[in-house]
C-alpha cells in the first residue's frame, strides 16, 4: 500500500469516526478510528459516504426543529397574558 493510499484510508477512518461520534453523541476516542483503517478502501469510502449523508440529514432535521421551536417561542411571547385577578 502506497503512502498516499494509507493517508487516504486514515482520513476516511477519521471522517467515519467523527460522523459516528456526532450521530451517536459519543466521544471521538470511543470510536477507535485506527481500528477502522483495517477495512478496505472501498468499504471505507462507502461507509464514509453514507455517514456523511446521515450527518447532513440529521443537521437538516435539527435546523427544522430549531425553526419550529423559535416560531413557538415567538408565538408564546405574543400570546395575550391572562388578565390579573380583580381585587
Amino acid at each position: 500500500m502506497s503512502a498516499r493510499e494509507r493517508t487516504g484510508k486514515q482520513l476516511l477512518a477519521l471522517e467515519i469516526a467523527q460522523a459516528r461520534a456526532y450521530l451517536e453523541g459519543t466521544m471521538l476516542r470511543e470510536q477507535r478510528p485506527e481500528k477502522l483503517a483495517e477495512k478496505s478502501t472501498l468499504e471505507l469510502e462507502r461507509e464514509a459516504e453514507l455517514l456523511r449523508e446521515a450527518v447532513m440529514l440529521r443537521q437538516q432535521r435539527e435546523v427544522a426543529e430549531h425553526v419550529r421551536a423559535t416560531i413557538e417561542r415567538d408565538r408564546a411571547a405574543l400570546r395575550p397574558r391572562s388578565s390579573a385577578p380583580t381585587s
Binding site: 472501498l42 453514507l50 446521515a54 432535521r61 435546523v63 416560531i71 408565538r75 405574543l78
Partner: protein, 146 residues
C-alpha cells in the same frame, strides 16, 4: 519504450541519440527482438525521472445490496424525516430501502433533505407572517388605549 517515446514525440533516432545507442537498437528493443541492457533501461527511465506506477489491482467489489451499519443509521434517520414531513414510511418501503444499494439510499436521502429544507422555509415564512400580524394587531390595540 515505444509508448513513452511516442508520448514525448521522439523518433527512434532521437531517442537513440539521447541514450547513446543506434536507432536500429531502439527498433529491435521496441519490436522485442533484443532485450535492453540494465544500463540502457536505467538510462531510459532516468529520462522520465521515474518508472510508471504499476497498475493498481482493483479491490474485490463488495455485494451491491446491503449497506451495512452506516446504511442502517441513514435509513433510521430517513424514516424519522419522513414522519416529520407527514408521510411516514410504510413497512414495505422501509424493507425495500433496506435492500437497496448505497446509491439508491443516498439519492432518496438527498430528496428528503431538500423536502425538509422546503418545509422549514415554509414554516419560517408562515411563522413570520403570523408574528407580524399579531404585532400589528397588538400595536393597533395599544393605539386605541392611548
Amino acid at each position: 519504450m515505444r509508448e513513452y517515446r511516442k508520448r514525448e514525440g521522439l523518433t527512434q533516432g532521437q531517442l537513440g541519440e539521447l541514450l547513446g545507442v543506434k536507432q536500429t537498437d531502439i527498433s529491435r528493443i521496441e519490436n522485442g527482438r533484443i532485450m535492453a541492457t540494465p544500463e540502457l533501461e536505467e538510462a531510459f527511465w532516468s529520462l522520465w525521472k521515474a518508472p510508471p506506477e504499476p497498475e493498481p489491482i482493483p479491490e474485490p467489489e463488495p455485494p451491491a445490496s446491503g449497506t451495512g451499519e452506516a446504511g442502517d443509521v441513514l435509513l433510521e434517520l430517513m424514516t424519522a424525516a419522513r414522519s416529520e414531513l407527514g408521510h411516514p414510511m410504510s413497512p414495505e418501503e422501509a424493507e425495500e430501502l433496506s435492500r437497496a444499494g448505497p446509491e439508491e439510499l443516498l439519492s432518496q436521502s438527498v430528496l428528503l433533505r431538500e423536502a425538509l429544507e422546503v418545509q422549514a422555509s415554509r414554516e419560517l415564512l408562515a411563522g413570520a407572517k403570523a408574528f407580524r400580524k399579531r404585532r400589528e394587531s397588538a400595536r393597533s390595540g395599544g393605539g386605541q388605549k392611548c
